[in-house]
Symmetry: C2
Subunit: 207 residues, 2 copies
């Protein structure tokens, strides 16, 4: 009875909901939240306006669900869990390689949704999001304290935030350079360079 099994694992309307989320995501990336109408979303998903309200309470609810589905968490955390390495340096180098492929795949999708949240909702949904996400980062942040012996005498939170800041700074400048007329020299491995500077900045000088 494959039909029944399908019904169980993929209940009626679940497909439509997914199509709506995907369509809304694309629209939000293209023109932001207020620049996207419920009609555009419905049309892109292949149904009429009224149909959306069978799946979502209102427009903001659509955005919250899209944000939940597509924020960088889902691409960063698996990388954090997959990365290994005896020394902190090896761990971070491997982590960088994993994040790099994620960036290559998702490029234009990692930041804009967060920017929309900041700009059009003034970060209204960030607290709830952070509460759900931050626990998953604990093991990663703990790595730094486990390997503190390899670090220069720096406050641990400073090291952790410097790492996150380095990544975010790379992503944002990548985003801007992409738009600007000068662009970024593709023959340079910018991410590796940034990590090099960071590692040399936090690690003890070889004795």
């Amino acid at each position: 009875m494959p039909t029944i099994t399908d019904r169980v694992t993929r209940p009626r309307g679940e497909d439509t909901r997914r199509r709506l989320i995907e369509a809304a995501h694309a629209q939000f990336l293209a023109q932001g939240y207020h620049g996207t109408s419920m009609r555009h979303i419905a049309q892109a998903a292949g149904l009429a306006v009224g149909g959306i309200y069978n799946h979502f309470a209102n427009k903001e609810d659509v955005f919250v669900e899209v944000l939940d589905e597509y924020h960088p968490y889902h691409v960063i955390v698996p990388a954090l869990e997959a990365a290994q390495g005896e020394r902190l340096e090896d761990f971070l180098l491997q982590l960088m390689r994993l994040i790099r492929t994620a960036i290559q795949d998702q490029r234009d999708q990692l930041l804009p949704l967060i920017f929309i949240e900041m700009v059009e909702f003034r970060g209204r949904h960030i607290p709830a999001l952070a509460a759900r996400i931050l626990p998953a980062f604990e093991p990663f942040l703990a790595r730094f304290s486990e390997h503190q012996a390899e670090l220069r005498p720096l406050a641990l939170p400073v090291v952790q935030r410097a790492f996150v800041g380095m990544l975010v700074g790379h992503l944002v400048t990548d985003f801007i350079l992409q738009k600007s007329p000068i662009g970024a020299d593709p023959s340079i491995d910018w991410l590796a360079g940034a990590l090099d500077v960071f590692l040399h900045g936090i690690l003890k000088d070889p004795a």
Copy 2:
């Protein structure tokens, strides 16, 4: 004849224009571009809708002028020009202090306008903006090459972008932490920490 002088230095309607730019800026920060209506802007500036069109061609024109007036350039470049220092390290430390006070004053105004540009215009105005701005950064970027003897063997563009990325990463994470439930420990000098990591990351080890 003070009245005539006033007329010359502050022509008819120039006041209104300034009020409109300020009002529009505040509205854009509060709810983004598409979330702000011409009526809201007009009302906040103390006039009727139609009045706006005596000063601006259309809504997008208002945004472009606001962006031109308020982007980070006007706060960064004076700091770049004021900063001095014999060694690169001293120069950057002093620059950081200048930028810090700018950040404290402007906090919520440095990034959102750029984010709006990214999100709601897909960076459409960035090329023109970059062309006008980048020349002013040349002398600053040149500092790094002038002091190359103090640097580890790194590609110069990597060093320059790492510095900008460090600053941007600090600003963005500051913005996010500000919204998040955990916040940032105010007893830590995060910016100094980030610069410390950066400097140690690019400078030659003391021989």
